[in-house]
C-alpha cells in the first residue's frame, strides 16, 4: 500500500514509468493487455485494407495504400516492442491472438466492399483511432507514450489521405459519389462504436484514468470525433446515416441517435462478419511461415557455431 501510494504520486506528478521501474501488477497487466490489443489491431488491420491493394484503381493509389498498410505493420512492430519491455514476448502475444484469447479492434471484423472503403477507413477509422490515441501520447508508461507519438504522426497522415480519397470520389462520377455515400453508410456506426460502451457501462475506465493510461472517457472522445467529422461530411456533400443527428447549441456539440449496442456486443464478442476469416488468415500466415522462422533460427545457430569454431 505504501508502494501503491508512492506509485500513484509519481503518476500524479506526470512522471513517466519506465520498464525497469517497479509497478503494481494490475498496472502492468492492464498495459500488457492494452498494448497487445493495440498491436494486434494494427496487424489484423492490414487485412481489410490489404484486400484492395491488388485492385487499387491507379498506380499512385496502389503505392500509397501499400505504404499505408506497411506503416500499420510498423506500428504493430513498435507496439509489440513496447509490450515486450513489460516481459511478454511477441510470440506469446501472437499465440494469444490466434487462439482468440487476445482481442483486437472490432472494426476490422467488417469487410471492405468497395474502393471507397479504403478512403472511408482512413477518414473515419483512422480518425477515430487518432482521437483515442492522442491522449495516449501522454500515457504514464514511457515506452507506450513514445510509440504513440510516432504512431499518431503517421495516422494523421493516413487520415488526410483517406479523406482525400473520399473527396475525389465525392467529386467524381455519380457512381463514384454513390460508392462514397454507401461506404459512409456502412462505416459510420461501427466507427462511432470504436469508442466503446457509454461511460456508465465501461469496466476498466476508472482505474485506467487514475493511472493515466486513459485520459478521457469513451463518451467524451466519441463526442469530439462526431463534432470533428460532421462538418467534414458536409463539406464533401455526403450524408451521415443518422437521422437523429443534430447540432445542440447548448452543449456546443452534436447529439446523435441511439447506438445499436446489441450489434456492438455481438461484434466485440467475436461474431463480426469477418471475424473468423481474419483469424484464419493470420493463422494461415503464421503456420505457413513456421518453416521460414525455423530456418532463420537454424541458420543463425549454424553461423554462431561456425564463428566460434573459427575463433
Amino acid at each position: 500500500p505504501e508502494f501503491l501510494a508512492a506509485f500513484q504520486a509519481r503518476i500524479d506528478a506526470e512522471e513517466k514509468i519506465e520498464p525497469n521501474d517497479e509497478m503494481p501488477e494490475g498496472y502492468r497487466r492492464t498495459l500488457v493487455r492494452q498494448i497487445g490489443q493495440h498491436a494486434h489491431s494494427e496487424i489484423v488491420g492490414m487485412l481489410p485494407e490489404g484486400n484492395w491493394i491488388t485492385r487499387a484503381p491507379s498506380l499512385r493509389r496502389k503505392a500509397t495504400l501499400l505504404a499505408k498498410v506497411q506503416d500499420e505493420g510498423g506500428h504493430g512492430l513498435y507496439l509489440y516492442a513496447a509490450a515486450e519491455t513489460l516481459g511478454v514476448s511477441r510470440e506469446e502475444m501472437t499465440e494469444e491472438l490466434l487462439s482468440g484469447k487476445a482481442k483486437y479492434s472490432s472494426i476490422f471484423n467488417y469487410p471492405t466492399l468497395s474502393w471507397a472503403d479504403i478512403g472511408t477507413i482512413g477518414w473515419l477509422v483512422d480518425g477515430a483511432a487518432i482521437m483515442n490515441q492522442i491522449p495516449l501520447c501522454r500515457c504514464s508508461f514511457g515506452p507506450y507514450a513514445r510509440a504513440m507519438i510516432r504512431v499518431c504522426k503517421e495516422e494523421s497522415f493516413h487520415q488526410r489521405q483517406g479523406y482525400e480519397i473520399v473527396m475525389t470520389l465525392a467529386r467524381g462520377t455519380p457512381e463514384q459519389k454513390a460508392m462514397a455515400q454507401d461506404s459512409l453508410n456502412r462505416w459510420w456506426w461501427p466507427s462511432i462504436m470504436m469508442f466503446g460502451p457509454h461511460d456508465a457501462d465501461s469496466q476498466h475506465s476508472d482505474q485506467s484514468m487514475a493511472w493515466k493510461i486513459k485520459r478521457f472517457t469513451n463518451d467524451e472522445l466519441r463526442q469530439k470525433f462526431i463534432d470533428a467529422t460532421v462538418p467534414q461530411a458536409e463539406f464533401l456533400g455526403l450524408t451521415i446515416p443518422d437521422p437523429d443527428l443534430k447540432w445542440n447549441e447548448e452543449k456546443g456539440g452534436y447529439d446523435h441517435g441511439p447506438i445499436d449496442w446489441s450489434e456492438f456486443w455481438r461484434v466485440v464478442k467475436g461474431h463480426g462478419p469477418m471475424a473468423r476469416d481474419r483469424i484464419k488468415a493470420r493463422k494461415k500466415a503464421w503456420d505457413d511461415g513456421a518453416w521460414v522462422r525455423e530456418a532463420a533460427l537454424a541458420h543463425a545457430d549454424k553461423r554462431r557455431a561456425r564463428k566460434m569454431a573459427a575463433e
Binding site: 487485412l47 484503381p57 491507379s58 496502389k62 503505392a63 505504404a67 462520377t173 521460414v292 530456418a295
Partner: protein, 242 residues
C-alpha cells in the same frame, strides 16, 4: 518507337513483380517481412510509374501511366516470364527477387551513363534500391539454403522452378540506344548469383531449354488472372479519376 517499347518492357517488369510482391501483404511469414516486402514492392511500383510516365511522353499520344498499366491486356503486356511467376512460397519469392535485382542492379548502373537524361534520373534512384533488394533477398536465400532440411529443400525446388526463366533476362527485347545492352549484363549477374549460391550451399542448374516469350506477350496462364483483378475497378469506371 523502340524507346517507347523498351520503356514499356521495363515498366511491365517492375509493375508485375511489384504486384506479385504486394500479394504477400498481411500474409508474410513474420512481421519484419510484412514490412520488407511492401517496401520492395513500393520501390518497384515507383520505378514502374516513372517508366510508364516517360513511355507515355515518348509515345506522345497522351497516354497516362494508368492508361498504360490498366488498359492493356495480357497479350499486350511485355514483362519477363520470371516476374509473373506465382509467389508459391517464401523461398520462391525471395529467389525470384534475387534473380531480378541481380540483373537490374548492373543494368541501372550501366544506365547511369545513358544519353537520355530521364533514363539517367530513373536509374539513379533505382540502382540504390536494387542494391538493397539483392542484399535483402540474397540474405534470405542464404538463410533458407543453409537453414533447416525443409528450407534447403524448398530453396532447391525454387532454383529448379525459376532457373528456366533466367535466360530471358538477357534477351535484348525492343532495345534502344538510350538503354543498356542486356546481354552484356550476364557476367556480373552470374558472379552475384554464384557468390550467394555458394554461401547458401545451392547449386546452379544447367538449363538446356530456357523459357521465354514474355517480350512478345506469350505469357503463362497466371498473368491474365492477375491483370483481371488489377484492372477490374479501373475498367468498370471508364474515364473516372481516382
Amino acid at each position: 518507337m523502340a524507346l517507347f517499347e523498351a520503356l514499356l518492357e521495363l515498366a511491365d517488369d517492375h509493375l508485375v513483380l511489384g504486384h506479385r510482391l504486394s500479394e504477400w501483404c498481411g500474409h508474410a511469414p513474420m512481421l519484419e517481412e510484412d514490412l520488407a516486402m511492401p517496401n520492395m514492392a513500393l520501390d518497384l511500383i515507383g520505378t514502374a510509374r516513372n517508366l510508364y510516365a516517360y513511355a507515355g511522353e515518348v509515345e506522345g499520344k497522351g497516354q497516362s501511366e494508368d492508361d498504360l498499366a490498366y488498359l492493356r491486356d495480357e497479350r499486350a503486356y511485355r514483362n519477363l516470364l520470371l516476374v509473373e511467376r506465382p509467389n508459391e512460397d517464401f523461398a520462391h519469392t525471395m529467389l525470384r527477387q534475387l534473380y531480378f535485382a541481380a540483373f537490374m542492379h548492373p543494368y541501372w548502373q550501366a544506365a547511369l551513363s545513358s544519353s537520355d537524361e530521364t533514363v539517367r534520373g530513373i536509374a539513379g534512384k533505382a540502382v540504390k534500391e536494387m542494391a538493397y533488394h539483392i542484399r535483402h533477398a540474397g540474405e534470405w536465400v542464404v538463410r533458407l539454403g543453409d537453414g533447416t532440411e525443409e528450407s534447403a529443400r524448398r530453396m532447391k525446388d525454387a532454383v529448379f522452378a525459376l532457373s528456366i526463366y533466367v535466360d530471358e533476362l538477357f534477351e535484348e527485347g525492343a532495345g534502344d540506344d538510350a538503354l543498356p545492352s542486356r546481354a552484356a549484363i550476364r557476367p556480373v549477374f552470374d558472379k552475384t548469383i554464384a557468390r550467394i549460391f555458394d554461401e547458401a550451399g545451392l547449386e546452379s542448374l544447367e538449363v538446356p531449354f530456357p523459357q521465354s516469350g514474355g517480350r512478345d506477350g506469350r505469357h503463362g496462364e497466371g498473368l491474365g488472372h492477375m491483370l483481371a483483378e488489377m484492372q477490374s475497378v479501373y475498367r468498370a469506371h471508364p474515364g473516372a479519376s481516382w
